[in-house]
């Protein structure tokens, strides 16, 4: 083994006790990314996440389309949460173009966003269940998503990628009798959520597996720049819906869910509890919503932004989701930067997995509320 290596390349020196595992990209427990894990026996020595397998150049694509044409492709990074990923884009474009949104449209947007947050969280929870080998917890949330998918289908006509939120309001008004149907489904859904607790969150094996694993302290959570449910599970009371309310969130009655433990269990429990808050928001919004009125301010054809820049962010299912848009007097944006929660939460993964058992890898990984496609954009 004394063959001359090309300049600039050197062999990695590996301890005999250490085994390197390439978890992914073709691995049932990795998602669309690769984790380079080094293990000593059953303990993880180091973990190096390697995202980028589903990079689609959404930001570059946005520079070649005008503000309306950008809507459908910008929701592709996370199709399960399409209203929430369009929400900051709409807010930013509205500020850029100086559009006023009708009051009823703001409420409808909030309802759509909260329904979508539930859809995303249920999907996330389903995968969390199957990552821990709990197949019932895969099937139940995947089935109960249908309740909200049906509601959003009635609202927008599409089941998954709605493109419902547009700059200036929402694309169309609510269908007839939507309010009663929505309230009925939300009531039923809350009943189902309590059953989840019995089968999953109060399950002794789940508790013993996730409690005390991958602990992220409050200071570390702030220093590493985590966001969303990961941050709130570490005891930081930070929710953009409360701290920087957008649309009509300041009128609505809900609370921020905060847990102090910062372990995998808390990180998986916070999104679950937030679904109850989402139900509260939906109920409150339906009660306070103006019963009639316009839902969309018409834009000029092919609107141009001024020579300015704008940054808007919302609370998505995975944390703060912001759009930074620079315009230069043209119909297309000069630069669109999507700042997503998934990528920020991924950063703390090497710190959390160090010294854990290999068996804790799935539970810690998926408790970070990471969506690979969104992180790669």
């Amino acid at each position: 083994m004394t063959a001359q290596l090309p300049p600039g390349i050197q062999l990695e020196k590996v301890d005999d006790r250490i085994m390197t595992l390439n978890v992914g990209p073709q691995h049932p427990g990795s998602g669309h990314m690769r984790l380079i894990i080094k293990i000593d026996g059953d303990y993880i020595v180091s973990c190096d996440p390697d995202p980028g397998y589903v990079h689609r150049g959404e930001e570059k694509m946005a520079e070649y389309r005008n503000y309306i044409q950008n809507i459908p492709h910008l929701e592709r990074p996370v199709i399960h949460d399409s209203s929430n990923i369009l929400h900051p884009y709409c807010l930013a474009v509205e500020e850029l173009l100086g559009i006023e949104v009708p009051e009823r449209a703001k409420y409808i947007r909030v309802i759509a966003s909260e329904l979508n947050r539930c859809i995303y969280t249920l999907y996330w929870l389903a995968i969390y269940g199957i990552f821990l080998g709990h197949s019932t917890m895969f099937m139940w949330p995947a089935g109960d998503r249908e309740l909200f998918i049906d509601l959003l289908e009635a609202m927008s006509g599409a089941r998954v990628t709605h493109a419902y939120l547009v700059p200036g309001g929402v694309r169309n008004d609510l269908p007839a009798n939507f309010e009663e149907r929505c309230l009925r489904q939300v009531d039923y859904f809350e009943k189902r959520l309590k059953e989840y607790q019995a089968v999953f969150y109060k399950n002794p094996i789940l508790i013993s597996r996730t409690e005390g694993t991958g602990i992220l302290s409050r200071t570390d959570a702030i220093r590493l720049g985590t966001t969303g449910s990961v941050l709130r599970a570490s005891g930081v009371d930070f929710d953009i819906r409360k701290k920087e309310p957008y649309d009509v969130y300041e009128n609505l009655d809900f609370e921020t869910v905060v847990m102090k433990e910062g372990d995998s269990y808390a990180r998986s429990y916070v999104p679950y509890l937030e679904m109850f808050e989402s139900c509260r928001i939906i109920r409150d919004a339906i009660r306070k919503m103006p019963k009639s009125g316009s839902v969309r301010t018409k834009l000029k054809p092919n609107p141009k932004g001024g020579n300015e820049e704008v940054y808007k962010r919302v609370e998505s299912g995975r944390g703060a989701l912001g759009y930074y848009i620079v315009s230069n007097n043209r119909p297309e944006p000069y630069r669109v930067k999507i700042s997503v929660g998934s990528f920020r939460n991924l950063i703390c993964m090497p710190y959390l997995l160090k010294g854990e058992l290999l068996g804790n890898m799935p539970s810690v990984y998926w408790s970070l509320n990471y969506w690979p496609v969104e992180a790669d954009r």
Partner: protein, 433 residues
Amino acid sequence: MSTIAPQFRLSRFIASLFDIIFWVLLIFSLVGLPIVFIILFYIKMPIVNGQMLTPYLAMTWMADPSRTLPIIKTLLHTTFFHVIAFPGFGFAALLAAATIFVERKFLAKIQLRVGPLYCGKIEGILQLMGDGLKLISKEIIIPAKADKPIFWVGPLLFVGTAGAFVSLIPVARGWVVANPSVGLLAVFATIGFFPIISVLTAWAANNKWTFIGGLRALHQMIAFEIPLILSLLSIVILTGTLNLSQIVESQQHYWWIVFAPISAIVFFICIIAELERIPFDLPEAESEIVAGWLTEFSGMMYGLIQLGTYLKLYAFAGLFTVLFLGGWNGPMVWPPFPADIVTHGITIGPITAKIPGLPLFDQDMLNGTLWFVIKTVGVILLILLPRGVFPRIRIDMLLHTGWYKLIGLAFINIFIALGLLYAGVLGPGGLIQ
């Protein structure tokens, strides 16, 4: 014009058929029949109704339908039939296939879905056959760097060991393939083979996931084999025998689960762990190590492992029934065979057929088999149930459960059994002498 066989000619097809028939008859009469007679010369022929059954006699009787029944009856008691069909492989495989179907429908009902639905019109009953056909038709891929002989032989060894385990389970009185006087020891010896097979195939596949999975399987099985053996020690103390049939006979009045409930619970947890089922499916943990020690198996090799797993499931459930639930003992619910069929024959219109040799099976055996199957299916359903409600356990908790808690619990029941024995409540050999 047919696109399937454009060159098809009916005359040639008929000629080829005659050709085949000619050669088959020629080879059969010149080679086949002599070989059959050579083999028959060395085999001890059974004696039916006081006559030795020679091939000529058998052929003579075959011409008379009323005399074929004694031949069938004799066949039913040969070792060959025992191994292939009834208490052995065929019966177990049938129950295993039914188990797979029931498991899928049962789990689907828990998870609010329908399960297999289309294949076979009625509730997807042929789904298993479709899956089997798919597995057979798939390509078997052997890793280039694998240790090929061991890798090939692994699935066969697994099924063989599971079959050996099945052969030790008594189904009804006198209906058991192998009945050694140390039956329980033979069971322990057989299940001791499974971790060896797992580790051998895992090592032979030359893959990191199979390696980790194989070592996990080894850890798990050794940790749970000790409490499994210890939990059965109280039964041995109470009965004073290792023979499984005698253990069943000793439970004619009370089942051992009444006197050894802790043992039963420990044994039940251990069989779930030995079967690598959820919550103890660590060797195949999908999200951590792909499929564990099964990662590199494809096609029918994987199918054979699955068959072996379900045979093992049946055998463990049967063992639980035999040891704790009284085996074939149960109230007589099978109707007696109508005696006038034997004496008067069956009258269909003007014809009265007398069929000597009926019934093929006696009432006791049918009743015993019925009770055995009912109890075993119940145990199998209980084994399937945790899959719907539990997530996977972690390896440190698994070892802690095996080495600390279950061994202690097993010892508690051993002391209870000894106490019962020395207090004179039960003598060796069962409750009633």
